[in-house]
């Protein structure tokens, strides 16, 4: 059996005295899409930020391929160059044009020259239907457009995997579809992705595997059909029941 693209072993994380990740084990195979579901505060977002080394973990190990990225002496900047992360609140740089937002990391971190970086950015923008926004500033874009640019920005460094942290939660309902379609395109391209989401319909549709997080542990995981149709754990059943009652599934 091959080595997973991303693997978490016994990962623990606490903020002050509040334990957010109790003991998380997770393996993501190459080209797999894994969706993390669970109530707010269950640890989905923290898990992604730990993988990106934005939060140092207290215990356990995280691997990309065979490299332990949580080993002492590993340069976090180099680890981050291998993966993209997109946040809930867009977080584009407001003082830079769309083009500069996308090319900043390739040029300054990866040493790509401006012409090459620009060409790559334009190519990605065209692919996702944003080629007319190259020179716009973020505040002139809709939320959906901003989030698509943020995804493109994470793609511009040719990452080995992408982490998506509730990327549609801050969007007006009519703008969600355009962002989800971008993610579907990425899946079609074979991108490895870990997606924290509240969009259950989308998770069922796009995920190869769904993990239900509850109070800092992955309580249940499996193919979407099984998790959504036949959840084994009482907590999963309760969670999905509430989602159905809210009309979100």
């Amino acid at each position: 059996m091959s080595v997973p693209k991303l693997e978490l072993r016994n990962v623990q994380k606490a903020f002050e005295n509040k334990v957010v990740l109790h003991d998380v084990d997770l393996a993501v195979e190459h080209h797999d899409v894994v969706c993390l579901i669970g109530a707010s505060g269950s640890g989905k977002s923290t898990l992604l930020k730990c993988v990106n080394l934005l939060y140092p973990i207290d215990n356990g190990q995280i691997f990309i391929d065979e490299d332990e990225i949580t080993a002492p002496g590993v340069n976090p900047n180099q680890v981050r160059q291998r993966m993209g992360i997109v946040f809930q609140a867009f977080n584009l740089f407001p003082h830079m044009s769309v083009l500069d937002n996308i090319t900043l990391s390739p040029r300054k971190v990866h040493g790509v020259d401006r012409a090459t970086a620009d060409a790559r950015a334009r190519e990605l923008l065209a692919k996702f239907g944003l080629d007319d926004k190259v020179d716009e500033y973020p505040d002139r874009l809709s939320g959906g457009q901003q989030q698509r640019v943020a995804i493109i920005r994470s793609l511009a460094i040719d990452p080995e995997l992408i982490l998506l942290d509730e990327v549609t939660s801050a969007l007006d309902p009519e703008l969600i579809a355009e962002v989800l379609n971008v993610i579907r395109d990425l899946k079609a391209d074979g991108m490895t992705m870990v997606i924290a989401t509240h969009e259950m319909g989308f998770a069922r549709d796009v995920a190869d595997r769904v993990c239900f997080l509850d109070a800092g542990v992955i309580l249940e995981h499996g193919p979407p059909d099984r998790i959504f149709r036949d959840p084994q754990e009482a907590r999963t059943q309760q969670f999905l029941q509430r989602i159905i009652e809210a009309g979100r599934l």
Partner: protein, 290 residues
């Protein structure tokens, strides 16, 4: 009663939360402008009349507003004042650069940068805790007295150095406030793209921070533009010192008024510009927010 007190209490409210006072003035139209103009003319007229008809006015005029003394002192004081302007320009450029460097060092995180952070904080605390005039005397008279080989001995050089050091400490805090006003998510976003701390500061945080603190920096400009005159204590013949010399030989204080006029000619436009800029910036932010 209730209405009146609420007007009094929230008199400045409309500027913050609704139509601005200026636009409400505009709505009042020509009649409002006429009333404003007439009341201003009457107010100033009465004030001037009261001053000019008072018994002591001739003495005041002789000592402070003597036209022949004014004409005589102007070229001398203006020449000195030109030095003030040059000192201001040189100092301001250095201050903006040094303060930014100090603020950036202070903003670095992580244990590895601890010694640098301590250095920056110590610098800021020490310099801000000392009266600026003391620093000018200390460096301006103290360092040349050491007679160190290869070290400049001109009072002007050391006076200016004292000003630059002092203002850099204050301005570093202005920059720091600006850096801290940028949302944490911007830092996280930049770091997640693989940028180092210094790159994050340089490309993401500082450009946004500077935009946020431009009004505060402009206020610093106004303040420094006057404080350069403090080097007169070292005997540097800038504007105030020139006026003092004139006064000493004529026993007439009109030369000080000349100096005041010269300073006002520069500082008032800068102050008006600062207000205009701040106002425009706030309106833009409101436009984006709405």
């Amino acid at each position: 009663m209730t209405e009146q007190s609420s007007v009094g209490r929230f008199g400045r409210g409309p500027g913050l939360f609704g139509p601005r006072p200026r636009s409400s003035l505009r709505e009042e139209g020509a009649r409002g402008a006429l009333i404003a103009f007439a009341s201003t003319v009457i107010f100033i007229g009465v004030a001037v009349w009261l001053v000019l008809t008072s018994e002591t006015w001739p003495a005041v005029q002789r000592q402070f507003f003597n036209w022949s003394n004014f004409k005589e002192a102007w070229p001398v004081v203006a020449t000195g004042f030109w030095l003030d302007i040059k000192m201001f320009l040189v100092a301001e450029v250095l201050i903006l650069v040094i303060a930014l460097a100090v603020a950036m060092i202070r903003a670095l995180r992580g244990p590895a940068f601890f010694p640098l952070r301590v250095l920056a904080i110590t610098f800021i605390d020490l310099i801000r805790g000392v009266p600026i005039i003391l620093l000018i005397l200390l460096l301006g008279f103290g360092v040349p007295a050491l007679q160190l080989p290869g070290v400049p001995r001109r009072e002007l050089f050391w006076g200016l150095t004292a000003l630059v050091i002092s203002y850099s400490a204050y301005t570093a805090e202005v920059y720091r406030a600006g850096i801290e006003s940028v949302r944490e998510s911007q830092r996280m976003s930049a770091r997640s793209l693989g940028l180092t701390q210094v790159q994050t500061l340089r490309y993401v945080l500082v450009p946004q921070a500077i935009r946020n603190v431009i009004p505060a920096l402009l206020n610093g400009f106004v303040s420094l533009q006057k404080d350069v005159a403090l080097v007169f204590v070292l005997g540097v013949r800038e504007g105030v010192r020139s006026a003092q010399i004139y006064t000493a030989s004529t026993f007439n204080y009109t030369s000080y008024v000349v100096a005041a006029v010269l300073f006002l000619l520069v500082s008032v436009p800068v102050a008006r510009f600062t207000d205009w800029y701040t106002d425009r910036d706030r309106r833009r932010m409101q436009a984006v927010g709405g």
